[in-house]
Symmetry: C2
């Protein structure tokens, strides 16, 4: 019945779209075994586009694994796109909307200087979103090069307004809405506040309304996902990127019978985490649209590395008596892994490009420590047999896990547990600080800003994220202090606490007005490292002001405080001029004659806000970037 329908469709009226998502080019690119996986899969996706002779290719974000892909990654990506998507085959889709509004330039196949046969349209994901100066994403580069048509770029968190790409082929009209990744909690709130608009084209005509977005679909905490029911009902189909589990099934939608929209979740084309969902067979999909109706056909990918995931609960297995238990468990798990390898072999596609070594992951729950052992060393038995020998086992203590599940929320204290259970880096860091004793918590920096910055850093591997956050935060603190009446050290500390509290509790919009993360960091580009700065208090007349000084200057100030006045004698004018220099950021500038300085103030200066310490503490957290991240 369904087949018959499609066969009746006139090809000149049928828009054919190849859909794929989360290709993560460059993921593990330096790994000797797995380095090419993402490129092989991408090549297969594009070759399927050619094979099924589509009109366009639609990608759901995260084409790149990192926002700053390596030169080698950029090179391979370009090579593959040029190999498959350029040529003489005409593109039979007519653009009806304003191309400059959609893509900031012409769609590539209408560029008179390029010869494009299979146009790619893509939104960005959370891995390849705009970074750094000018907010440029890798897709912007592919766009200006004419390799990809980048649409749905949106960076404004006060509201969202999506102008669809309007396309026509014969009697079929497609309104393609794109929304690149925005932070889930904030987008979720914008939906809640009805601040997300989707422009409708001429409604006297029939349009097939397709939305591509890249957000959490699974519930990952309150407001930390986009519930389907907030999306407008006029949509016919949603292509949902970001979730790596492939949920592509044959679908056939008839607009006249429509109650709500359909959702297709292409999933990733590579397993970026060794989670159960990633072990599902990977697909892309062929979407055919004919007037109001559509037909979705899953296309299995045959060059994706096989991945077998198993969960084992040792207490449920009969392992015999308790002597040499660790050894017995290891023997048992070895046979399980061998079984998994065999299973992987049997599932292999007959494609010579498919990598041979499988990924195998056993998630093992053990009961007592005598069953435990070093899983990395154990994995070395499988070097040359699996692609991930060091990660083949994930050992979790069963009782502990159960206990934790049964415990009242909030009772948590063991950070290992928190780390294992934290849904994301933000929650982990938040829990970390909450678990600290009062005197070890952050006293000036807002935990919220730190967590957001670290989250962005773990995804982007870009120092500037942290520099911007600290810089913005510093500006905010200084502004708050300048506005306040704080004069004594205690008052300053209090004021900073208020400021921190304000940041930690502000709602999103308020936060953005307080801390401008988009501003260019003040540090010059040569300084790759967050500049070592200290906030110091200094008495000017009756007013204590806070001055920023470099470590060196602080040291100098401190040493003078310790009674070494000789410098002042040798160059008193130099000394004054130096003080003046430090005040340059503040108005009104007031003279600070050296003779007014007295010991208590200097001590206060030394003891005052240990900005440096916070920066250093925070920077230690950079290492949290190796926390496994599920998207």
């Amino acid at each position: 019945m369904v087949e018959a329908d499609v066969n009746d469709w006139c090809p000149d009226d049928t828009i054919r779209v190849l859909i794929a998502s989360d290709i993560h080019l460059g993921f593990m690119e330096n790994d000797a075994t797995r380095g090419e996986d993402t490129f092989i899969a991408f090549e297969e996706v594009l070759s399927l586009a050619v094979q099924y002779d589509v009109d366009l290719i639609l990608l759901g974000g995260d084409l790149f694994h990192q926002s700053k892909p390596s030169p080698s990654c950029m090179f391979k990506c370009t090579e593959i796109i040029r190999k498959y998507c350029f040529g003489d085959k005409p593109v039979n889709i007519e653009l009806l909307s304003d191309q400059f509004q959609n893509f900031a330039r012409n769609i590539n196949y209408e560029d008179p200087n390029l010869n494009v046969s299979y146009p790619i349209l893509s939104i960005h994901g959370n891995h390849d979103d705009p970074v750094g100066q000018g907010s440029v994403s890798s897709l912007d580069i592919l766009s200006i090069t004419g390799l990809v048509n980048y649409f749905g770029k949106w960076c404004d968190y006060t509201h969202v307004r999506i102008s669809p790409v309007l396309m026509q082929k014969g009697g079929t009209r497609l309104a393609l809405y794109g929304l690149s990744h925005l932070k889930d909690q904030r987008l979720s709130r914008l939906f809640h506040e009805k601040k997300v608009e989707m422009e409708r084209p001429d409604e006297t005509l029939d349009w097939f309304n397709l939305l591509a977005l890249h957000q959490n679909r699974a519930n990952r905490g309150p407001s930390n996902y986009i519930p389907e029911d907030v999306l407008p009902k006029f949509l016919d189909l949603v292509v949902w990127g970001h979730e790596h589990d492939c949920e592509v099934y044959p679908m056939h939608g008839i607009k006249t019978e429509k109650e709500s929209f359909f959702v297709v979740q292409p999933g990733s084309t590579v397993a970026t985490s060794l989670a159960a969902g990633e072990a599902r067979p990977k697909h892309c999909a062929l979407l055919q649209i004919h007037k109001g109706d559509f037909m979705l056909t899953p296309l299995p990918l045959k060059t994706v590395r096989p991945f077998i995931f198993k969960t084992l609960v040792l207490s449920e297995e009969n392992l015999g008596d308790q002597v040499n238990e660790s050894e017995k468990v290891q023997e048992f798990l070895k046979t399980k892994i061998e079984d998994a390898i065999t299973e992987a072999k049997n599932n292999m596609h007959d494609d010579p490009k498919q990598p041979k070594l499988p990924l195998v992951r056993l998630s093992v729950f053990y009961e007592n420590e005598s069953q435990n052992f070093n899983p990395v060393r154990f994995g070395q038995n499988f070097t040359g047999l699996v692609a991930n020998p060091t990660e083949v086992l994930l050992m979790k203590k069963e009782k502990k896990t159960r206990e934790r599940r049964e415990r009242v929320p909030g009772e948590e204290a063991d950070m290992t547990g928190v780390a294992a259970e934290a849904p994301d880096v933000e929650s982990l860091i938040r829990s970390y600080y909450e678990a600290q004793p009062e005197d070890k918590r952050l006293s000036v920096l807002s935990v919220r800003i730190v967590t957001e910055a670290v989250r962005d850093f773990t995804i982007k591997h870009n120092d500037e994220v942290l520099r911007r956050a600290f810089d913005a935060h510093k500006r905010r603190c200084i502004a708050a202090l300048m506005d306040s009446n704080a004069e004594t050290e205690q008052e300053i500390i209090e004021q900073l606490k208020i400021c921190k509290n304000e940041l930690d509790t502000a709602d999103d919009d308020k936060l953005r007005t307080l801390v401008d993360l988009t501003a260019r960091p003040t540090a010059p580009p040569a300084q790759l490292i967050v500049p070592v700065m200290k906030l110091q208090t200094q008495q000017i007349g009756k007013k204590t002001v806070v001055v920023l000084s470099s470590d060196e200057e602080a040291e100098e100030l401190a040493s003078r405080g310790r009674g070494k006045g000789a410098r002042g004698k040798a160059a008193p004018r130099g000394g004054r001029s130096r003080a003046k220099g430090r005040q340059r950021d503040f108005t009104p500038p007031a003279p600070s004659p050296p003779e007014r300085r007295s010991t208590p103030r200097r001590v206060a200066a030394q003891k005052s806000v240990s900005w440096l310490q916070n920066v250093v503490n925070t920077r230690k957290l950079r290492n949290s970037s190796d926390i496994e991240d599920s998207d």
Copy 2:
């Protein structure tokens, strides 16, 4: 006379080339004032190509300032090239050589999928040379995209063989030789050993022989530059990149009258250091080739930020008496800077795109400390008046400088002096280690490998450079130890010394056979940081082997050494398996029963080669990347 000649040339027989070099796109791109300078100049270069209607554009390397340009930099570069170099104008140059040999692909204007009007041909420089996995340079990316024709890429240091790009326009035949940057000392040696070949095309025909290279031209130490007389005499013209001083003069060469080749040194299009040579007016050049003759016309760049450089010797100025000397000097220098600003204004071109704020640098020699002051603070007087307020002064002590010049070479001890005078980062680091007392010198790492790695790191800002170097070094040490008969700790230390000495004294070729820097580092890509590893000795039977262990394992080993044997009791087999795991890199694997361990060996293990410390020490040197680098 010269003019008359050119006017007689038939345009259909004249190849017109726009020549530029060292554009350094992205230099200071995050600086609020100077961020756009490199892009403005590049745009002017390409607009001159269009204005003078050239057949091709030849770049002498360092198109990019960094080997991994930022996304924003890549975007702007692409945008500018697409704006000027794509279009319908036909290119009238015929390619006679094998394009795949020259460019690894078709020249872009013959690519059927691209519409190129002004083809760019470029070699790479030392700033944009290939990096990382697959040795990909930014020019490779521009090449695969079809934006630039990247030629003369060469990475083999055992010999050099250059195949020219052979081009013809009417009766004029051009053989264009390209040699991308190689390390000067090594290339110099290859020339000396007659291992540099340039293939000659059919010699029965007349060819105009042009070489583009990117090397030190000025003598920067023995063998650390390429003397002109090592270049073959059949060349007609050499385009010499890398040197930033612009040396472009009108030239007219007639092949029949030729004695040697001409050299044109385009210089950079942006001042990347505040040195005197960079203050010369910047140019690119129009080269016209007609059969055997050529005509070179300098084209002044009108959008380069004005730069005034002055040297002042205070002892030669009449500054009056000695009271308040620092203040007087400052007043004096202020007037000098104001003069320079005026001079810059008078030199401005009438181009609206030219940045207004000038660069000003006074190099000041002072006689005594009372004349000295903080130049950064002083510079703040010129914020908003010059583009480089924090760097407007360079203060050097006259006497000290003179003394140093007069001192016998080798007597040097003051590191500040060394830093100021070191011609490059390598010499600086070498001097640093030489100045250390014996016990603080590197005991395992070869100073040579460290210096080379740091030099590459300062240019490339790429962690992998260091990882590769340390990894290769580690492999070499382990191999040397495995080959040796060293058994006791002392013998091992001696062996490592021999190994280090061998590396430090080996000639280049030998070094490459000992240490393979091209191998993929073993560390997985997620580890951005050099893994913290310790070399430890361990007794197996009568033989002491060196094992690699992580910090954690070393700690564990050490704690067992301190008498905690309880673990062994709980899981003796686990213990053995652990030891076995550590030995896995070595053949033949031998069992290491726990009961054989005794205290002295454990102490030896703890005391043994402090690889970690060396790594850490070396990593501190990363900060030397802010040492000013002249190219």
